[in-house]
């Protein structure tokens, strides 16, 4: 069973292993390689089969939990010692600190809105962007131009909301925990980090930036903290059933082929340190 650690607590070896596994997955020519994950995120951003599986819906948290788990397993196929780390943006708030160091994710884009120039993902020969809404083949960032990072009290306030989600189970849900985490509702813990990092992270193809997975790992960790407080049971997820076009607790998360219910208690698969 894996333990997911903070990016700030990783050893030099753990950082190097994670970077190497990402590059091996990127270079993989069969099965679900890194670009498969980019493409899948693009495909599932919107309505598929009449359902919003991944975003602006109740299943935002379980869908991304399973998506991260599949990415983590794909990395483990290259190095079984690798676990996904998380970027706790309420604590690590600098554009030059973890995870944006030259031995890990690298720094900002050149000129504040251009290609990343430092670290293992700088330049298209080190990390080539193949599937994107924009033409650059190099990873780009535009940090802190727009958006902002949530504070500890922002996160704490959301963890205190006991109801998982509320009708109409979408971007306009005006109560519940899920939309406060996702970002349709203040304080918005998830959307504004995509905006704050900028460049590819702001786009539909945001997983092109590997920091996507560290960000979403933190979102999953917050969901884990919420579940630790309010319960891991299927009764804690909403909607419980009978809502057309929304993924109910016993419906299948496409394209992963697992139900929401089966993703809820992750403690047999991984924990957070």
């Amino acid at each position: 069973m894996g333990t997911r650690k903070s990016v700030a607590a990783l050893t030099a070896t753990e950082k190097a292993n994670f970077v190497a596994a990402l590059k091996a997955l990127k270079a993989q020519t069969s099965g679900r390689n890194y670009d498969w994950f980019v493409r899948t995120h693009m495909d599932y951003f919107n309505n598929v089969n009449g359902h919003n599986y991944a975003h602006m819906s109740s299943s935002f948290l379980p869908w991304h939990r399973q998506y991260l788990l599949e990415l983590e397993n794909a990395l483990k196929a290259h190095n079984s010692a690798v676990d996904l780390p998380y970027w706790n943006w309420t604590a690590n708030r600098s554009t030059t600190g973890p995870p944006f160091t030259s031995d890990f994710m690298g720094g900002n884009g050149s000129g504040g809105n251009g290609p990343v120039t430092t670290g293992p993902f700088a330049g298209s020969t080190r990390w080539r962007i193949n599937v994107s809404a924009t033409s650059s083949t190099s990873l780009r960032r535009a940090m802190a131009l727009r958006g902002s990072l949530p504070t500890t009290s922002d996160a704490d306030s959301v963890m205190g909301v006991s109801t998982y989600d509320a009708s109409p189970w979408g971007s306009s849900s005006s109560s519940g925990m899920r939309n406060r985490v996702e970002g349709g509702l203040a304080p918005n813990l998830h959307n504004r980090i995509h905006v704050w990092v900028g460049g590819h992270m702001a786009q539909i193809d945001s997983p092109n930036d590997p920091v996507f997975f560290l960000h979403h790992c933190n979102v999953d960790r917050l969901y884990h903290l919420w579940q630790t407080r309010w319960g891991f049971g299927a009764d804690r997820y909403l909607p419980g059933g009978g809502v057309a076009n929304v993924v109910d607790v016993n419906e299948t998360l496409v394209p992963f082929g697992v139900t929401v219910a089966s993703t809820l208690d992750h403690r047999g698969l991984y924990t957070y340190a």
């Binding site: 919107n46 958006g147 005006s174 905006v195």
Partner: protein
């Protein structure tokens, strides 16, 4: 009647393509039994639509709020745009309309709320700012609906 409405259409910077849309619109209104007078026809060309150059890139926007299918092109390439509804405040059932694009997917820009009538143009300009020296690819229109 048609001359007046056509002048209206042209005043809003219409093209031949838009005229074709207008013609379809009239047919649609007629077949649904709605009045197809000058006012109704004039509304088919939205005064908020735009076509201009911003930071060296041609931006073009066509509104379709009724169906939520706005169109934005940058240098002739289509930018996928989605209209979303967001709560005005916690525990309020009132919502406001905003737009996101494939380039600003997590950054809704309000549309049509009094001061925000230029929301679609703001979205287009933001996309140009983000693009820098880049262009859109065909994935910028990725399966949006």
């Amino acid at each position: 009647m048609n001359d007046i409405s056509r002048r209206d259409v042209f005043r809003h910077g219409a093209t031949a393509a838009l005229l074709a849309v207008t013609a379809t619109g009239i047919a649609g209104l007629a077949s649904s039994g709605a009045a197809a007078g000058p006012d109704r026809v004039a509304t088919l060309a939205d005064p908020r639509d735009f076509e201009e150059t911003y930071k060296g890139k041609k931006i073009k926007g066509e509104h379709d709020k009724a169906n939520g299918k706005h169109k934005v092109h940058i240098n002739g390439k289509k930018l996928g745009v989605v209209q979303v509804e967001l709560p005005v405040a916690p525990d309020s059932t009132a919502t406001y309309t905003a737009v996101i694009s494939t380039l600003s997917h997590f950054d809704p820009i309000p549309l049509d709320e009094g001061n925000n009538r230029d929301g679609l143009k703001k979205l287009a300009k933001l996309a140009v700012d983000q693009l820098g020296e880049q262009e859109l690819t065909h994935h910028a229109d990725h399966s949006h609906r």
